[in-house]
C-alpha cells in the first residue's frame, strides 16, 4: 500500500465562459503615472518590479501623467491618432471584402491598434521588424501605401508577392517589415539573428521581434531569449498579450502565476509590462527599449497588455468561447478613444474634427480599395501569372523546375 495521496492534473481555465459575467480582476489596473521610469542603463535585477506592474500614462480623465509622459508633441499625437484610425478603417473594409468573397481570409487589429502604431514611431529608418500577423500598424505608421497592402490581400496582378502568400502576410524590406511566416514564433529568433548581425557589423540599426501571448509557448521563443541574452543583441522582444490565442486563454501558455514579461527575468533581460491600449505609454516604453538597444545595452522584453476585441481571424467565432460582452468589460479601454480624449483635453482636437477625420480616412481607404480592385481580387480580374508559381524558388531557376514550368504550359 502506498501512503501518498493520488495525484490529479491541473488544467487552467479562464475566469468565465460564454454566458458568464466577464471578469478581469486578474488585470492589476495600476494607476497611470505610478510606475517609475528607470534610467536605460539600470541593472536588470534592480527593475524586476516592472515585469509585474503595468506602465500607464493616460489616466481615466485623459490626462498624461507620471514619469513616462511628455515625450510626444501634439503633432506626433495627431499623426498617431490618424494612423490608428486608418488601421481601424482599413480593417473594417478588408473584413467586409473578405465577407464579400474578394479574398479568402483576413485578420483585424480591433483594440490593438496602439501597439504597432506607437511602436513604429520609436524605430528609425533602417531598423527591422520581424512581425507576426497583427502588426500591420507598423506599415501604416510608416506610410506604406495601403493600396499595396490591398493588392497583397486580393492576390491580384499587382500583388508585390505575386499571389504566393496568404492575405496579410506582407513583406517590405524598405519599410523594415520582414516577410511574415504562418508558422508561429519562427521570426522571434530570426530577429535576434538580424540584431546580432547588426552588432557584428558595428552598425547602428536595431531589430524588433514580435510574438503573441499564446505563441510564447513555442520553443523558438525560448531559443530567442537564450541568444538575445547571451550575445546582448540589440533587439526589442515584444509580446502582445491580447488575452487570447484563438479560443485558448492566456493562462494555458502562462500558467497560473507570473506574467509573460517575467519570462525575461531568468535570462537577465530587463522586462517591462505596459498598457497596450495607451499610445503614449507604448511609445514611451518602446523608446526606452530602443535607446537601450542603440546604446549597446542589449535586449529588452516588453509585454503589451491589451485585448483582442475582434475575432482571431475571419475563420473564428469568439462567442463560442468567451462572453459576448467581455470586450466592453476590458478595463484598459479603447486605444483610439483614449488618445482622442487626451487630444481634446489638450485642446488640439475636437469631436467635430474627429468625425471629419473619420470620414476623410474612410474615403482614403475606399479610394485605395477601388484602385486595388482595379487590379483584381482573388476570384475576379487580374491575377499573377501561373508562371509566377515557378519563379523565385531559387535565385536562378534549376532545370527541373524549368521542365515543370514548361509542362504547366508556361
Amino acid at each position: 500500500m502506498n501512503e501518498h495521496a493520488h495525484l490529479s492534473l491541473h488544467v487552467p481555465e479562464p475566469a468565465v465562459r460564454p454566458g458568464g459575467q466577464p471578469d478581469f480582476s486578474n488585470v492589476k489596473n495600476a494607476r497611470a503615472g505610478a510606475v517609475p521610469r528607470p534610467d536605460v542603463d539600470a541593472a536588470p535585477e534592480t527593475i524586476r518590479d516592472l515585469a509585474y506592474s503595468i506602465i500607464r500614462v493616460l489616466n481615466r480623465d485623459g490626462e498624461a501623467v507620471g514619469p513616462w509622459a511628455g515625450l510626444l508633441t501634439d503633432q506626433d499625437l495627431l499623426t498617431g491618432l490618424r494612423n490608428m484610425m486608418k488601421l481601424r478603417a482599413f480593417d473594417a473594409r478588408m473584413l467586409m471584402a473578405q465577407r464579400q468573397g474578394k479574398t479568402s481570409f483576413y485578420m483585424q487589429h480591433l483594440g490593438e491598434e496602439a501597439v504597432s502604431c506607437a511602436f513604429r514611431k520609436a524605430l528609425e529608418k533602417g531598423d527591422m521588424n520581424f512581425p507576426t500577423y497583427r502588426q500591420a500598424g507598423l506599415l501604416i505608421a510608416d506610410d506604406y501605401p495601403m493600396v499595396e497592402m490591398m493588392n497583397q490581400i486580393f492576390s491580384n496582378e499587382s500583388d508585390p508577392l505575386r499571389g504566393r502568400q496568404l492575405p496579410i502576410m506582407y513583406s517590405s524590406k524598405e519599410h523594415g517589415f520582414f516577410t511574415i511566416s504562418g508558422n508561429l514564433a519562427t521570426q522571434y529568433v530570426q530577429a535576434v539573428g538580424w540584431a546580432m548581425a547588426s552588432a557584428i557589423k558595428n552598425d547602428t540599426r536595431i531589430a524588433a521581434a514580435w510574438i503573441g501571448d499564446g505563441s510564447t509557448a513555442e520553443s523558438d521563443f525560448h531559443s530567442a531569449l537564450v541568444f538575445a541574452s547571451t550575445y546582448k543583441a540589440p533587439v526589442i522582444l515584444n509580446i502582445v498579450n491580447n488575452q487570447w490565442a484563438i479560443s485558448t486563454f492566456q493562462g494555458i501558455a502562462r500558467g497560473g502565476s507570473g506574467t509573460f514579461a517575467a519570462r525575461g527575468l531568468g535570462f537577465g533581460i530587463p522586462a517591462l509590462r505596459v498598457d497596450g491600449n495607451d499610445y503614449l505609454a507604448v511609445y514611451a516604453v518602446a523608446r526606452w527599449a530602443a535607446e537601450r538597444a542603440r546604446r549597446n545595452l542589449g535586449p529588452t522584453l516588453i509585454e503589451y497588455v491589451t485585448y483582442r476585441v475582434g475575432a482571431h481571424s475571419t475563420s473564428d467565432d469568439p462567442s463560442a468561447y468567451r462572453p459576448k460582452t467581455e470586450s466592453e468589460a476590458w478595463p484598459l479601454g479603447d486605444p483610439v478613444l483614449r488618445l482622442k480624449k487626451h487630444l481634446i483635453l489638450r485642446g488640439s482636437w475636437s469631436e467635430e474634427r474627429h468625425t471629419q477625420a473619420e470620414a476623410e480616412i474612410m474615403d482614403e481607404v475606399i479610394q485605395a480599395q477601388k484602385q486595388a480592385e482595379g487590379h483584381g481580387t482573388l476570384h475576379a480580374g487580374g491575377r499573377p501569372s501561373v508562371r509566377d508559381i515557378f519563379e523565385g524558388v531559387y535565385a536562378e531557376m534549376p532545370s527541373h523546375i524549368r521542365r515543370q514550368r514548361q509542362k504547366a504550359g508556361y
Partner: protein
C-alpha cells in the same frame, strides 16, 4: 596545391571564404574556441576574431533561426550543426523558413546560408550519430543539397555553397573526413595524402553546384552514388570485375539528370547506392527519373542498395552499412537480368 584531409579542405574553404568576404560568419556548437568536435573550424576564431567565428548555445532552432536573421541583414552565415542527427529541432527553421523566404517575399528578402553537418555511419556512432537525412532536404523546394566524396570537391563545393545566394545543406560524410573508405571495415583507412583528390588548391576555387562527376568509365552498368558510397561502388566494380560506370552525384538538389541519363542510355543498367534507409530514400527519386527518361534503354530493373528500414544499430553497424559485397551482388543481379 597541398595535401589535405577532408577536414582540412572544409576548414580551408571557410578560411578562404572568410578572408575574401567579411560578411561570412561561422558559428555553431563548440566551433569557436575549440574548433568543433571534428576540428573543422579550428583556428578560425584566432584568425578572424570571435565575432566572426563563435560558439553557440545548444539550440539548433536558435542557431538556424539566427542565421536566417543574419542572412536577412546581409551576412553570409556558414553554420555547423554538430551532427546531422541534431538538425531535427531546426527542421522547421530549415524547411519552412530558410527554404521559402525568397519565394514568399518575392525576392524582397533572401537567405544565403550554409548548414554544414557531419552525416553517415561507419564510426560506431549509434543511432544518433549516424544518420543520413538527405532525402528530408531534397523533398523541400528552395534548398540545395550537397554531399561531397573527397577533399577536392568538399573545398570547391563548400566555397560555391557559401557564395550561393540560396540556402545550402552541406552534408559531410564523416567516415571520409580522414581518408577514402572502401567499405571493408576491417581494412585500414587509406589516408587522403595518398589519394589524387587529396591534392587541393590552397586558394580560392569553386565547383559548380548541380554537376555530377563520372568517377569511373564503364559500359556494363551505371552505379549512381554519393558521399562514402562512391568509394564503396568503385571498390565493388574492381572486386567483381564488372565494367561499371560510377557516377558521383555530388549535388542531389539540383540534380545532374543529364549525366545520369547519358550514362544509363549507354550502359542500359542502373544501380543506385546510398547509406540512408530504403523506403522513400533519395534512391527512389533517382530510380523513378531513370525509368522515366531511359525506359526503352533499360535491360534490367533499376536496383537500390541502401541502409535497411531500421534505425542505425550500434553493434551490427557493419551489417547495416552497405559495403562492396552488397553492391557487388546487385551488380551481378542486374547483369544476369
Amino acid at each position: 596545391m597541398a595535401r589535405m584531409t577532408m577536414i582540412e579542405a572544409v576548414r580551408s574553404a571557410m578560411d578562404v571564404s572568410m578572408a575574401r568576404d567579411e560578411n561570412v560568419v561561422v558559428f555553431g556548437e563548440d566551433v569557436g574556441y575549440f574548433g568543433g568536435v571534428f576540428r573543422c573550424t579550428q583556428g578560425l576564431q584566432a584568425k578572424y576574431g570571435k565575432t566572426r567565428c563563435f560558439d553557440a548555445p545548444i539550440s539548433e532552432s536558435g542557431i538556424v533561426g539566427t542565421a536566417i536573421g543574419m542572412a536577412a541583414y546581409g551576412l553570409k552565415p556558414c553554420v555547423e550543426i554538430q551532427f546531422a542527427d541534431y538538425m531535427y529541432p531546426a527542421y522547421d527553421q530549415i524547411t519552412q523558413e530558410a527554404a521559402r523566404i525568397r519565394y514568399r517575399s518575392n525576392g524582397d528578402f533572401t537567405c544565403p546560408i550554409v548548414l554544414r553537418m557531419p552525416t553517415g555511419g561507419g564510426i560506431f556512432g549509434g543511432q544518433t550519430h549516424s544518420q543520413s537525412p538527405e532525402a528530408l532536404f531534397t523533398h523541400v523546394c528552395g534548398l540545395k543539397v550537397i554531399v561531397p566524396s573527397n577533399p577536392y570537391d568538399a573545398k570547391g563545393l563548400l566555397i560555391a555553397a557559401i557564395e550561393d545566394p540560396d540556402p545550402v545543406m552541406f552534408l559531410e560524410p564523416k567516415r571520409l573526413y580522414n581518408g577514402p573508405f572502401d567499405g571493408h571495415h576491417e581494412r585500414p583507412v587509406i589516408p587522403w595524402s595518398r589519394h589524387e583528390l587529396g591534392d587541393v588548391p590552397e586558394g580560392h576555387f569553386t565547383i559548380p553546384i548541380g554537376k555530377a562527376e563520372v568517377r569511373r568509365q564503364g559500359t556494363a552498368v551505371t552505379v549512381i552514388a554519393y558521399g562514402t558510397m562512391v568509394h564503396v561502388a568503385l571498390t565493388a566494380a574492381e572486386e567483381t570485375g564488372i565494367d561499371a560506370e560510377v557516377i558521383d552525384l555530388r549535388s542531389l538538389l539540383p540534380l545532374d539528370l543529364e549525366t545520369i541519363v547519358q550514362s544509363v542510355k549507354k550502359t542500359g543498367r542502373c544501380v543506385v547506392v546510398h547509406e540512408a534507409t530504403l523506403t522513400s530514400g533519395f534512391g527512389a527519386e533517382v530510380a523513378a527519373l531513370v525509368q522515366e527518361h531511359c525506359f526503352f534503354h533499360l535491360e534490367s530493373p533499376v536496383l537500390r542498395v541502401t541502409g535497411w528500414d531500421t534505425p542505425y544499430p550500434h553493434a551490427q553497424e557493419w551489417d547495416y552499412f552497405p559495403g562492396p559485397l552488397r553492391v557487388g551482388r546487385a551488380l551481378a543481379e542486374v547483369m544476369e537480368a
